[in-house]
């Protein structure tokens, strides 16, 4: 097929924020996750663990606890002292209520999701009722000294267990009184006595209270008698998190040494009645604190300060060999944080609160496969744009010519005009940007840099005209004919400027004609989330990748799937392709060869050649190294459509600058761990 000059970029200094807390919604198979920077993400397990929603963080809005309540409503509480309800359609905090108890350390929803209990800095536990349109203060429970670090409802909703420093309390919800007070550091000799922080707690229907503490113990208490039933020391460092399965026969704990352990309630003798909690499985997936764990019916999920989300299936619960039976690790968002100005050869990196603009280097040599070419001009850091205020950036983009940069936060939209004069560069903020409904969820520049498309809520897309030398005008707002409450999260515009495709949170793909500012058609609904889409510059075919790794090609002029797409669906994609871990996050086309499409996920980049036959399950999918050994005639027999390269990992972005030039943006795991604080020291034998 040919040789590419690959600009291998490793200077995107992204450090994903650590995982702070998680909440799993059993009915919808969704996991809500909050990061240390206040960002909240929702993963849809039914759609191959796709990160379906992302609400960017806020400097002042740390999230210490997340709860699903009243069906599908998501609540968060944090050190700001507020309870926040998130609007998962418009992807932003919907409303906040002050807890009036100082920083909130913990929050728990009762079994039927009608009440929220919060544990505050001042030692109070407060009850809130979940009512339509928000939460309402109900009452204060008995207050005692010491911050309430963890809370758990008894499944019947009559009692609450609260963990503080050195003690656990069980509170009667009706009377508000403390029904039991258990000292957890009672057995520690006086000389060694130090603070024992109860980090996490769980209240079982049998009346057992499970606590995990900073001494590395997991303890089982009988709450009525206040006696210790069982104690397991799992770690020399703290046990930070704890979660119980729905059947209450298994728990998972996470420690600050990065390990997770499973405990199971097992009969002492086979077939016997007497059961005990036994530590069964240890896992070490993290390098840093495991701050959050979740126990789903089929998997243990842990999230750590090393920003990793690990989904470890319980093999005894998985009946089918499939997507769910494999360990999954997610470090990077399923979003594109890099945008590329192809003509100007610029890269725009999006960080949580600033943007960086880089110019790629160049070479004047050519070489053979695998060679590293001498760099004649080094890449240049042109610009750093800091976002003012506490809000984090939702999205950003640079125009193909490189002279416009736009970004949006929750409440503000910024457009900059960048002037390149020789080697110097000047930036001017465009005044008088139209007052649009914010935030913008995705920004996309037309290929002639004349228009900017701004994805907004309720399925709408604003079209803004970019005017030289530095102005803009709101042209039109495109809206789906049926109306939706979900925000648009992906955009694609055609090269000829006639078409725009927009995907909203309900996974509908709408295509608009930009000539007439009119809705053109809707792509047939598919039961999975769209992860990336792009319009082919020559044929105006819309190429869509879904989170179940399926690929579709939809002809916009003909309003139907193309013959190639039908052929793919008929013959099916290769098994290994469908079993891949991470979703395709970007699609690009070869401008000189209409049959070639560039796709990439975190672990591979693939040039899909539609003119070649599809591989069947018996052929080698990743066959590049084999092909390289073959003679020319033998090669021809072995060729198939998927040309996969796994050399660049983990890959955050890849794009075709021109038909012979590729840019890849990698973020090696070593570089991230170098920027994390050192983990808990562990004594290794012989050191």
């Amino acid at each position: 097929m040919g040789e590419f000059e690959v600009h291998r970029v490793r200077f995107f200094g992204l450090v994903p924020a650590g995982v702070r807390c998680m909440a799993y919604q059993h009915r919808g198979c969704r996991l809500a996750l909050a990061r240390t920077d206040g960002a909240v993400e929702v993963y849809n397990f039914a759609a191959n663990y796709f990160m379906e929603k992302a609400i960017p963080g806020h400097q002042a809005r740390s999230v210490e606890a997340l709860c699903w309540a009243a069906g599908e409503r998501l609540f968060g509480a944090g050190l700001s002292g507020d309870i926040t309800e998130y609007d998962l359609e418009r992807l932003r905090p919907a409303r906040t209520v002050d807890g009036f108890g100082g920083p909130i350390w913990s929050m728990a929803a009762n079994n039927d999701g009608t009440r929220l209990a919060i544990g505050c800095e001042d030692g109070s536990v407060k009850l809130f009722q979940v009512v339509p349109g928000g939460v309402q203060f109900e009452k204060n429970l008995d207050r005692q000294k010491g911050r309430v670090l963890c809370l758990s409802w008894h499944p019947s909703g009559t009692h609450l267990a609260a963990g503080s420093i050195n003690f656990i309390r069980v509170l009667d919800v009706r009377s508000g009184r403390t029904a039991q007070r258990i000292m957890v550091n009672y057995h520690v000799p006086k000389s060694k006595k130090r603070e024992c922080v109860v980090w996490s707690i769980a209240f079982l229907s049998s009346g057992t209270v499970i606590s995990s503490d900073s001494f590395g113990r997991v303890q089982f208490w009988d709450w009525e008698r206040g006696t210790l039933q069982d104690s397991h020391t799992v770690s020399t460092s703290a046990v930070l998190s704890l979660a119980v399965s729905e059947e209450e026969d298994s728990i998972v704990v996470g420690t600050s040494a990065g390990a997770t352990y499973q405990f199971q309630l097992l009969p002492v003798k086979a077939g016997g009645q007497e059961k005990r909690w036994v530590r069964t499985k240890p896992f070490q997936h993290h390098t840093h604190d495991v701050r959050a764990v979740v126990h789903t019916p089929t998997a243990l999920i842990s999230g750590g300060l090393d920003a990793q989300l690990v989904i470890r299936p319980l093999m005894e619960k998985v009946q089918k060999k499939g997507y769910d039976a494999v360990l999954r690790k997610f470090t990077f968002p399923h979003r594109r944080l890099v945008s590329c100005a192809r003509k100007a050869r610029l890269l725009l990196f999006q960080f949580s609160q600033h943007l960086e603009l880089w110019r790629l280097g160049s070479t004047n040599k050519t070489g053979k496969d695998g060679e590293v070419l001498p760099v004649s001009r080094m890449p240049e850091h042109l610009l750093q744009l800091k976002s003012k205020g506490p809000e984090h950036i939702y999205c950003s983009c640079v125009s193909p010519c490189g002279s416009w940069i736009a970004y949006s936060t929750a409440s503000r939209f910024h457009l900059y005009r960048v002037q390149h004069e020789g080697d110097s560069i000047s930036v001017k903020k465009v005044p008088g940007v139209p007052k649009l409904l914010l935030p913008a969820y995705q920004l996309q520049c037309a290929s002639d840099s004349g228009r900017l498309f701004v994805a907004s809520d309720r399925g709408s897309v604003h079209v803004v005209q970019l005017l030289e030398p530095g102005g803009c005008k709101h042209l039109h707002t495109l809206r789906p004919p049926t109306g939706t409450r979900e925000a648009v999260y992906l955009l694609a515009s055609s090269a000829d400027g006639n078409w725009l495709a927009a995907v909203s949170g309900d996974w509908e793909v709408h295509i608009y004609s930009l000539k007439h500012f009119k809705h053109h058609c809707t792509v047939p609904t598919y039961s999975c989330a769209v992860t990336a889409l792009a319009i082919h510059p020559a044929t105006n075919n819309l190429f869509i990748s879904y989170s179940d790794q399926q690929l579709f090609e939809f002809s916009i002029p003909e309003k139907q799937y193309t013959a190639w797409s039908r052929m793919v669906q008929n013959s099916g994609l290769h098994k290994l392709w469908l079993e891949r871990d991470s979703p395709i996050t970007h699609i690009a086309f070869n401008p000189k060869n209409t049959s070639q499409i560039l796709l990439h996920d975190v672990y591979m980049l693939c040039v899909l050649d539609k003119s070649l036959p599809l591989p069947d399950n018996n052929t080698l999918l990743v066959n590049q190294s084999t092909l390289k050994q073959l003679s020319e005639p033998a090669r021809r027999r072995q060729l198939h459509a998927f040309k996969i390269c796994k050399k660049f990992q983990p890959l955050l972005f890849a794009d075709l600058l021109d038909e012979r030039c590729l840019v890849t943006v990698e973020r090696p795991a070593v570089d991230i761990s170098a920027e994390l604080p050192p983990p808990v020291q562990q004594k290794k034998f012989g050191t």
């Binding site: 600009h7 084999t626 090669r635 060729l639």
Partner: protein, 682 residues
């Protein structure tokens, strides 16, 4: 697992019902209630017992001088009892009747052999001459003429339809006892022979042909032997689809045994020291037999046996259909019919249809032409099977496929014209089969010299015995390349390194493989005939055709154990051994050409496989190789090559430190924040 519980006595027996053959009871038949049995002795009396209470409920006897000649049965529809005394006199009565003389009586024109009564059906009267009438037809005209069907010289069997079959004659043994059951239009006849084997005969019911007697073939179901000693069975009953109970004698004493036909194992046994009459009945999970002077009842338990149950991994079968792993719970062929209640309808139909196809097709030559038929039948069978397979998609389909293939192979063995090749190829390619699932498949393929099938088997089966691997190797080496060129062989493993077009042989001027060149290596000893040698042993050309190479690759690819393979390999003819060795040499040189010493392509042999086979072959044929003149040149060429390789690697070892340094530098380069590299995508 089957188990026998404690025995209890139902009743004592009179002087006639004693121990020994010929004595005992006339019969024991089920009563109207599941707990009732009807006992008919060899004299004049019939007694109705309630088994759980061990007490008689009623007793009827005929007059002095008369004798009951046919077991009393119960008509389940009317709750009447039917008996025949003095061969021709039919009596029908009810529970409340006391005196048999006063009940309904009909005198028939022919002697009655048996009356069969089944629930929900009119009782059938079987005459000694072979005629059959239903009771109501008979009672309309008791004196009607009854035809004689049985002729004496043949061993024939009757079933409820009037068809005649001839059983294969078994030399040296006679059938002792028969039993049969009907399952979906097929009669399964089990037959205990005096050779202590139980055979199974399948007889289809819907048979529209009016031709002559058909010969039924039978298959061995069970061999009654317990570690050396042989059980002499006299009577047996079928308990369920894979259990039979046999009453017989083991050495001196008699015993009751339960056998599992699926695993061929003895499940339970009970010694009967007082002797039996050799009769065994079984109604409602209870055995009835005479033991000494009494009629004994033994309750048994017989659960569906499975390997999973045996090794203690039995899971709830309800969840099994979720699983796509091989389901050991339902492994077995007959079991498919019964155990999978949920999917029964489809499965049953398909299974029974299959059986119809797989039974030997009768009268082939008479009905059809000679050449035409073979194609037609094979194609038809393939077609039918394919349809069935496409319909049934079940998790335990695997096991069923194994059975189907075994059945097909059995048919192939019986009928040399029958060979559904395409179907077999498709099956092996699509399903995860193994050698042990269909052991005779490869033997048949070897016999037919079906190299393509053998190739696929070698590639796919994980458990081929070394003997078969060797047999394949021998066949592959013996077949000429010309013949192979015309056959369809999967060339996937060779196309990557052998040029298939024969005219495409460009001779490279100099080949340097991993630092070795044949020309450069000088060795004075074999100057004579150097040119010929070059032609013969040249490693540039493959010594075998691509088809043969692909087949040999399949052999190289299969798993083996040296200890078991070596004795077989010694039998390989010297010429073939040399040819194989030459090919291995060629592969070895080809491998060494590449920096990573692997051959390109799918399923191509690895260097360790090549080396292992080379060593094995040399071990097996060392003396022969030393003696053969053509082998000498090959050996010396190999020797030189190996020596060069050794030298090359020792040199590499010396510069290992420098290479590591290079590697380190490369790594350092990798960690740079920016680089421009060349990537070739093919």
């Amino acid at each position: 697992m089957a188990a026998l519980c404690e025995a209890f006595t139902l009743c004592g027996l009179g002087p006639t019902g004693g121990v020994g053959l010929g004595s005992g009871l006339l019969a024991l038949e089920p009563g109207a209630d599941p707990d009732h049995v009807l006992l008919t002795d060899r004299g004049r009396t019939a007694t109705l017992f309630k088994v759980s209470d061990q007490k008689p409920l009623g007793c009827w006897s005929v007059k002095h001088g008369q004798i009951i000649t046919c077991p009393v049965v119960c008509n389940f529809e009317t709750h009447e009892y039917i008996a025949v005394h003095d061969n021709k006199v039919l009596r029908i009565w009810k529970d409340k009747d006391v005196n048999l003389d006063k009940v309904f009586k009909a005198t028939l024109s022919a002697e009655v052999y048996r009356i069969h009564s089944l629930p929900h059906a009119e009782p059938l009267v079987l005459f000694r001459g072979g005629g059959v009438r239903t009771l109501d037809v008979l009672l309309e005209a008791p004196q009607q003429e009854i035809e004689n069907v049985i002729s004496d010289e043949l061993k024939t069997i009757f079933f409820l339809s009037l068809c005649k079959y001839k059983l294969e004659q078994q030399e040296l043994s006679n059938p002792l006892c028969f039993t049969a059951y009907i399952k979906k239009q097929i009669i399964t006849l089990l037959c205990l022979y005096s050779s202590n084997s139980v055979y199974k005969v399948l007889i289809p019911l819907q048979q529209n042909s009016e031709e002559e007697e058909q010969t039924l073939s039978k298959s061995l179901l069970l061999n009654l032997s317990i570690s050396g000693s042989v059980l002499k069975g006299t009577s047996f009953v079928v308990l369920d689809k894979d259990h039979v109970a046999v009453l017989g004698s083991l050495a001196a004493s008699e015993c009751l045994t339960i056998w599992n036909t699926k695993f061929q194992t003895l499940q339970a046994s009970k010694e009967l020291p007082l002797g039996t009459s050799g009769q065994l009945w079984c109604y409602g999970e209870k055995f009835f037999f005479t033991h000494g002077k009494v009629l004994t009842v033994v309750i048994y338990k017989c659960e569906t046996s499975s390997l999973a149950a045996a090794v203690g991994k039995l899971k709830d079968s309800q969840t099994s259909d979720l699983s796509s792993f091989v389901n050991w719970n339902t492994l077995g062929d007959e079991e498919l019919l019964v155990s999978c209640q949920s999917q029964q309808s489809v499965a049953l139909k398909s299974e029974s249809k299959m059986m119809v196809i797989l039974k030997p097709m009768p009268c082939t030559s008479e009905l059809h032409g000679i050449s035409h038929f073979q194609d037609a039948s094979t194609a038809a069978v393939e077609d039918e099977l394919r349809q069935l397979l496409s319909k049934a998609q079940r998790p335990d389909f695997q096991a069923a496929i194994g059975c189907v293939i075994s059945a097909l192979i059995n048919r192939c063995k019986a009928d040399p014209m029958f060979y559904p090749r395409n179907f077999l190829v498709q099956m092996i390619q699509k399903r995860e089969l193994s050698y042990s699932l269909c052991p005779d498949l490869m033997a048949v393929a070897l016999e037919k010299k079906d190299v393509h099938l053998l190739q696929i088997c070698l590639q796919r089966f994980p458990d081929i015995p070394e003997e078969i691997t060797y047999a394949c190797l021998k066949v592959f080496l013996s077949i000429s390349d010309d013949y192979l060129e015309r056959t369809d062989v999967d060339l996937e493993s060779v196309i990557s390194y052998i040029d298939i077009e024969p005219n495409n042989k460009e001779v490279k001027t100099e080949v340097v493989e991993n630092g070795f060149s044949t020309e450069l290596e000088e060795d004075g000893c074999d100057v004579t005939g150097m040119k010929e040698t070059h032609m013969m042993d040249s490693v540039e050309f493959c010594p075998v055709g691509p088809q043969k190479a692909a087949l040999l690759n399949a052999v190289l690819h299969s798993a083996y154990s040296e200890t078991f393979l070596l004795p077989h390999l010694k039998d390989l003819p010297a010429q073939q051994a040399v040819l194989f060795l030459r090919y291995l040499h060629y592969l070895y040189v080809k491998c060494s050409e590449k920096i990573n010493t692997t051959l390109p392509g799918v399923l191509s042999p690895t260097i360790s496989q090549i080396m292992d086979w080379m060593c094995l072959l040399l071990d097996a044929h060392f003396t022969v190789m030393v003696m053969l003149p053509e082998a000498k040149r090959l050996l010396s060429s190999m020797h030189k090559f190996v020596r060069a390789q050794v030298r090359f690697y020792s040199e590499l070892n010396k510069i290992e430190g420098s290479l590591q340094e290079l590697q380190r530098i490369k790594c350092q380069k990798d960690s740079q924040a920016y680089s421009i590299e060349v990537l070739e995508l093919i």
